[in-house]
Symmetry: C2
Subunit: 200 residues, 2 copies
């Protein structure tokens, strides 16, 4: 029964292919975050995977696709976090829990939210920005809920959100795996500071 065999992950060609493609994207995403999209060549990406530039094109159609996919991967993770059911009394508590996860996700994955969206051509760029907007909207809605239930103080919800989301983005710029601070420490700190800034 070859059918049974092909279903076993390590022997399934499609699965292997997809896994390698992901490896390409994630490895590149890390490099993009550290050095920047344009300061990372296809040769760089290939070398860090023990491959040749040409081999990358077996998994990917262009450098732009890598950038595109790396953004989508990050947003997929954020969507995932946003989906997690958190039963907390006030909206502020939910928001704090979400934010905590965001910080950990970003430090762990090494992803960034702002790496060169402008280097994408019109269509993928629009998609990525739409994705970002959707997420922002959800967070803004949560803040508004908090303002209604009295846990979050008044003010332009959009601005309140942009403030602490900025901290998240800047994080990718300075965070260093090898540094002294663990992801959890930072997450605790940031979540606390975020909460304090919003508390009614």
């Amino acid at each position: 029964m070859t059918a049974a065999l092909t279903e076993m992950t390590p022997f399934n060609r499609d699965v292997q292919y997809a896994a390698k493609k992901q490896a390409v994207i994630l490895s590149a995403a890390g490099a993009f975050r550290r050095r920047g999209y344009h300061n990372t060549s296809m040769v760089d990406i290939a070398k860090s995977l023990g491959l040749t530039k040409a081999a990358l094109y077996y998994y990917v159609s262009s450098k732009e696709e890598i950038l595109h996919q790396s953004h989508l991967a990050t947003y997929a993770q954020m969507d995932e976090i946003l989906k997690t059911r958190i039963d907390a009394p006030a909206a502020l508590d939910k928001l704090e829990a979400l934010y905590h996860r965001f910080v950990i996700m970003l430090t762990r994955s090494g992803a960034s939210l702002l790496t060169d969206v402008n280097s994408l051509s019109a269509e993928p760029k629009a998609e990525v920005l739409a994705r970002r907007t959707t997420i922002e909207r959800k967070i803004i809605a949560l803040v508004k809920a908090g303002q209604k239930d009295g846990s979050i103080r008044t003010g332009d919800a959009r601005l309140l959100v942009f403030f602490f989301m900025g901290a998240l983005n800047w994080l990718s710029a300075w965070y260093d795996d090898a540094g002294p601070m663990g992801a959890d420490d930072i997450a605790d700190h940031f979540a606390a500071q975020m909460r304090a800034g919003l508390t009614a």
Copy 2:
């Protein structure tokens, strides 16, 4: 007396030259912030000034110099702000006033703190980062002072600073001159949120 004449700004060649050079740098800095360093060509920069690519090289030795100088220009402004004497009782009050000015400066000037430092070669990059570090240190020191005088709550001062400085950087990414929000509105909002996040 040509001496007197040459001192008159509009007729002084050196002054004119310096002014035009600044125009090149500031115009480019704005484009870098909006589109990114690598998505802005020398032709783009020249066109937006009504010049030709080649003419730029009369004022500047390389594209890299433009990036370098645009960073230095921003940090010079921040240094200026940091120098302003602010007599407030607690360190937290001083910090809030400073932060308010930072926000206004960044929205007005259209400068950014994070545009492609990595695209600079070793020496200028080191200089820019050193400059940034110096500024960060001063702010961290102020936070520590606030923790001592009891106005700012405890916690890793470095992290506290990175949090609200992130909001500042992210600002450059989304702020739009043409948008509905005035610089002052944003500054008020951000300063308040910053303060709330730090208050003991």
